[in-house]
């Protein structure tokens, strides 16, 4: 935040529109959810207060735990690949010229494709009957079929997420790298530093800020993932690729089990809140340091 700010509580007028919209969009629905989470709702007129019953039930529900573990595994794999890959890509990007512009457009494009279309694109691409990837793999001798084999489904989901989101990490890292002054590279060259030393001592310190953000963003967003796996595998085969969001969506909309769904939502949200706080703290800290 800027340095010389004046104290003035009338500033609230400026944030009032924002408050109203976000309250309308966020607070009221959230309160509804919390309200439902502590009630047993049989129908519109019959509801009982049940305290933390639903929370207890959800946290011990084996399907919830399964979905949660699957989610953890997925997010961990996603981070382990996308973060280093994004950094390597960023280091290879040119900074000027037409090539740089075209590259920027290419990299940013997956970020702007509707998520179900991402799923559709990968369906078309990975299917063993009409997909370029699917057919090619089968021609090469692998009996590839992501609709039937769980490991294939996982790999395809991972490949799709990497295709979809690595650009975000790459663009963040690239932005961080462009902030390194040419003189720093020059000084390292005169010092006789090796390529690895240049990365470790000149580039990495500047990347730390954006990397923390990239990690937190990818962690949170992968934790919330719904549409792409839903379109690609529908959570299957069976429920081997059913992650947390999908489980919640099924509960809330499909089964209309409002109480437990609401409790689930609150638990989910609390996790996200924790990560948001970490994100906020690190962004604020890196700004104070610079």
């Amino acid at each position: 935040m800027a340095q010389n700010k004046t104290q003035d509580n009338r500033a609230w007028l400026g944030v009032l529109p924002v408050m109203l919209i976000v309250a309308f969009s966020g607070v009221i629905p959230l309160m509804t959810v919390v309200n439902y989470s502590v009630q047993d709702i049989l129908d519109f007129n019959t509801r009982f207060f049940v305290g933390f019953e639903w929370y207890r039930e959800t946290l011990t529900d084996p399907r919830f735990i399964d979905a949660f573990l699957r989610q953890l595994g997925f997010s961990a794999a996603v981070l382990a690949i996308e973060i280093p890959l994004g950094i390597v890509i960023a280091r290879g990007m040119p900074t000027q010229g037409l090539r740089a512009s075209l590259l920027l457009v290419l990299l940013a494009t997956p970020l702007l494709i509707p998520w179900n279309v991402v799923g559709t694109i990968w369906q078309i691409y990975a299917r063993s009957d009409i997909g370029l990837l699917g057919v090619t793999l089968n021609e090469m001798g692998f009996a590839f079929n992501y609709t039937a084999e769980p490991p294939h489904a996982w790999l395809t989901l991972l490949a799709m997420d990497i295709w979809h989101w690595t650009s975000l990490v790459a663009l963040l890292a690239f932005a961080g790298l462009t902030s390194v002054p040419a003189a720093c590279y020059q000084a390292a060259e005169l010092d006789g530093a090796s390529k690895w030393q240049v990365f470790r001592h000149v580039e990495l310190p500047r990347l730390k800020g954006v990397l923390v953000i990239a990690v937190l963003l990818r962690l949170m967003d992968s934790f919330m993932i719904y549409t792409e796996p839903f379109v690609l595998t529908g959570g299957g085969p069976g429920n081997t690729t059913t992650f947390l969001s999908q489980y919640l969506a099924t509960m809330a909309v499909g089964q209309f089990d409002l109480g437990p769904a609401a409790a689930f939502s609150v638990i989910y949200f609390l996790f996200i809140l924790l990560f948001s706080w970490l994100f906020y703290a690190s962004v604020m800290r890196s700004e104070e340091g610079s």
Partner: protein, 269 residues
Amino acid sequence: MSRRSRLSRWVLAGYCVYLILPLYWLLTLALRSNADIAGVFELVPSNPTLANFAEILTNPVWYQGLVNSISYVLLNTLISVSVALPAAYVFSRYRFLGDRQLFFWLLTNRMAPPAVFLLPFFQLYSSIGLFDTPLAVALAHCLFTVPLSVWILEGFMSGVPTEIDDMARIDGHSFWFFFTRIFLPINRSAIGVTVFFCFMFSWVELLLARTLTGSEAKPIVVVMTRTVSASGMDWGVLAAASVFTVLPGILVVWFVRQHLVKGFALGRV
């Protein structure tokens, strides 16, 4: 570019191929009829046809879907940016009671999982009669795009020296004049980046867009999820529709490409 190591450049080249292949495949399928796709597997279409694209542009279900999607994205961007500009200005220039807490609370909204809000949104928008309108989706998306816009705009605005405000005041300009004629033009790139990110959030979202619309305001992404004909999946048309949803993104990036890196550098995505 001596600092770009060989490894990085090869990985970059490889990743570009990785990105392009599925898009290329999409294009080829969009240019072929369903019978053609089901029949022969070929790398380059030998019988390309524009029929699928024509279908999207002539069939009201499809192009209405496209119109609906663009409507709510534009609405959302308009609302988000308008509402966020004064808030961001105020956050960057003033300290006030509860400002840090408010800022953080806004962030938590950006992070909120859409799945959590499905049911309450459904009930809320139904009860006020906005169900099945583009406005409902636009407002629902505001939950994420407004905080994001405030965050990004604040980051940029903090970099604009307060001397400019002082100078305008000394010159006798009204606040409105200062804000619209001096301050906003300075923040052109910030607004461009914000539009990009609003677009990035609103255009791509499916869950809320689906939950809050019925038959009137059905967005194209929902039309796509329901495209199964009697003869199985309409892959050609689906691919063509997909192409139509990829194009706006490319356009938006191209227009704001110069400001994009600066926007990412703030790290407030």
